[in-house]
Symmetry: C2
Subunit: 369 residues, 2 copies
């Protein structure tokens, strides 16, 4: 194993502190145990088999993926996978059906077309695919709009010999990271009422809802306000990011992933340029302040602001800094949104509990579908 | 060679039409010949050795890269490379100096520190590195602010035995794609005056400016309004994108790269969801209308608008569409900004002049520095 010191990492270098990772994993695992919730982390954040295994070691019941390509990678860590994506084209569904021959795989869908396509694929493969019916609980991205459509789709699924209706699915993307647990509590309680209505209607149609899958990092610790939930699927919580820390969802000390950058220009007054642009930090803006929140946070220079990104340049306004970063200096950045940043790298670095720095492959990067 | 038909490509699939590529390359090559300008295309857009070779076949004099890792890849296509980036850390500079042993490599810098670091590296490697002095001509990202600083840096460089002062460099990033050639003409003429002043001052200091390197895709065809230019470095022009076509810089028919997507949900009223989110299209907004321009253009559904991206979902508002895309249908998207999209893929697809569809490796993807 290649071991380096931090100063031996060419920049930009994504460095992940395993002590913080372990603390983040333990905290949510404890919460889930306390509230009798299953935890099925979304692996889109880390895309790493080793990190998935850490989550499973903390008691995760299985893993969530967005793509069949990710499922095929994460199969090495778990044989209980949820594809949180309507895999309704022949390319995805055939691979899902193939994987279902050797492990438990469920797919969240919101259309009869998806049920038809997955049934056909599973029939050809001789496998059985679990289905969760996706409900729109307020994010308005995917998901059925009303109980009647959900019942109809569940009934459709339950009649297909190679599918198995397992329950309900939703993604509460409209619950943003903000320091107002009361607002989340109210929203989570309302979602519970809607879920309860659907579960009752399904029961009347003789359909059992074994799983109710929801959850996200921003709403994770309010999950008990939706008692209908049986499992949650947060992703970001393993590393956290500035979208979590800026609004106070987590303390900045819980951000496990820092991008180490070098100041490569100071020629323009009141500005330095770091070697991380949109091809490293992404153009994802800060959720709580998209217009003025900048493109990441410099914890050692909190008054600095990353005001503009080119592809390989990050322009940092240092006009408000009492102490200013110097040309050639290495500075740390906490990205706004860690998930797409990790996705840009073949390999990141981890700092072990013993202080060694080792490479970590981003195993499921580059899986397009 | 694996050959497919378009419908055999799993989505999202980036498909590049080589007929359009060849037309785009020929057009700018013609312009450069007419105006006696050297063309040194920026390979950041395609990151492909094969595409670089096409540019060289059209008469490009060499290639531009942003990273030493890209230079090490593009060395296969050309032995005349410009690193348009201040490589002032030990990791980059040592690799630059090593590569300079076997080919012509120039670096654009804007600080004495960069000159010192590159000199040390080149001395150790026993090589010589060409230097262009970076001037800020209005974009205010990198670049020296005045003639006096430029002269001082050029003199500093000229005294270092392993460096060679070759000329001046600037990036006119403030000249955006817009259908107002007069505004560009005025700006380009003003830049010419500043350059001329610096070149004269350098001459008085007995320093010859062999190269004046500028240019970009938006300002490319106005380069002759800056007669001091000896070469230009456009990148995007090979493929073009919605940032080029929306403001009328190029006709939409000149967009060579289309992302083929599948409609994977239509459950939410007035919306469909395609299988391309920020991990495929990036969060780069439309330059001419960041607030309301959406995240890409659907040429077959021009009234549709990609209003929100999650990592793997693109939400398309179809409320204004007379004809609406159907669930399961494959639709094309022209990305806002093609360069970072290509960077997200290990491999894209090309449609050859004969109509065959073949894979194209993105050779220089994933080079962090």
């Amino acid at each position: 194993m290649e071991t380096k010191t931090e100063n031996q990492l060419p920049t930009p270098a994504m460095l992940i502190d395993l002590k913080i990772v372990e603390r983040n994993l333990a905290k949510l695992a404890d919460y889930c145990r306390t509230h009798n919730l299953k935890l099925r982390p979304h692996t889109k954040t880390h895309k790493s088999i080793a990190m998935a295994k850490r989550q499973l070691a903390h008691g995760a019941t299985g893993l969530t993926v967005a793509k069949i390509g990710e499922a095929e990678v994460m199969r090495e860590a778990s044989s209980d996978l949820l594809l949180a994506y309507p895999a309704l084209d022949a390319f995805r569904s055939n691979r899902v059906a193939e994987l279902a021959r050797e492990c438990t795989i469920r797919v969240a869908i919101d259309s009869p077309l998806a049920a038809d396509v997955l049934q056909d694929a599973a029939k050809r493969a001789g496998s059985k695919i679990g289905i969760l019916v996706d409900l729109d609980m307020g994010f308005h991205r995917t998901g059925l709009q009303d109980t009647a459509s959900a019942i109809a789709l569940a009934q459709d699924v339950s009649k297909k010999p190679n599918l198995r209706f397992d329950g309900l699915f939703f993604y509460p993307g409209h619950l943003k990271a903000k320091p107002d647990p009361d607002a989340h509590k109210i929203a989570m309680t309302e979602m519970g009422a809607k879920l309860s209505e659907t579960i009752d209607a399904l029961a009347k149609a003789c359909l059992q809802t074994s799983i109710v899958s929801g959850g996200s990092t921003p709403a994770g610790y309010q999950s008990h306000f939706t008692p209908e939930l049986t499992e949650i699927r947060p992703g970001t919580y393993i590393y956290n990011d500035w979208n979590c820390a800026a609004p106070g969802l987590v303390p900045i000390e819980d951000c496990a992933a820092h991008l180490i950058c070098t100041v490569i220009s100071d020629a323009v007054p009141n500005k330095v340029v770091i070697d991380a642009g949109s091809k490293t930090l992404t153009s994802d803006r800060l959720g709580m302040d998209p217009e003025h929140g900048g493109f990441g946070h410099l914890p050692d220079y909190p008054e600095a602001k990353i005001v503009r990104l080119s592809e390989e340049h990050g322009e940092v306004d240092i006009s408000q800094c009492a102490r200013r970063p110097k040309l050639g200096e290495r500075v740390r950045v906490i990205p706004n949104h860690i998930c797409p940043c990790i996705n840009l790298q073949d390999q990141v670095w981890v700092k072990t509990e013993e202080g060694a720095i080792e490479p970590l492959r981003v195993d499921a990067r580059g899986k397009l579908n």
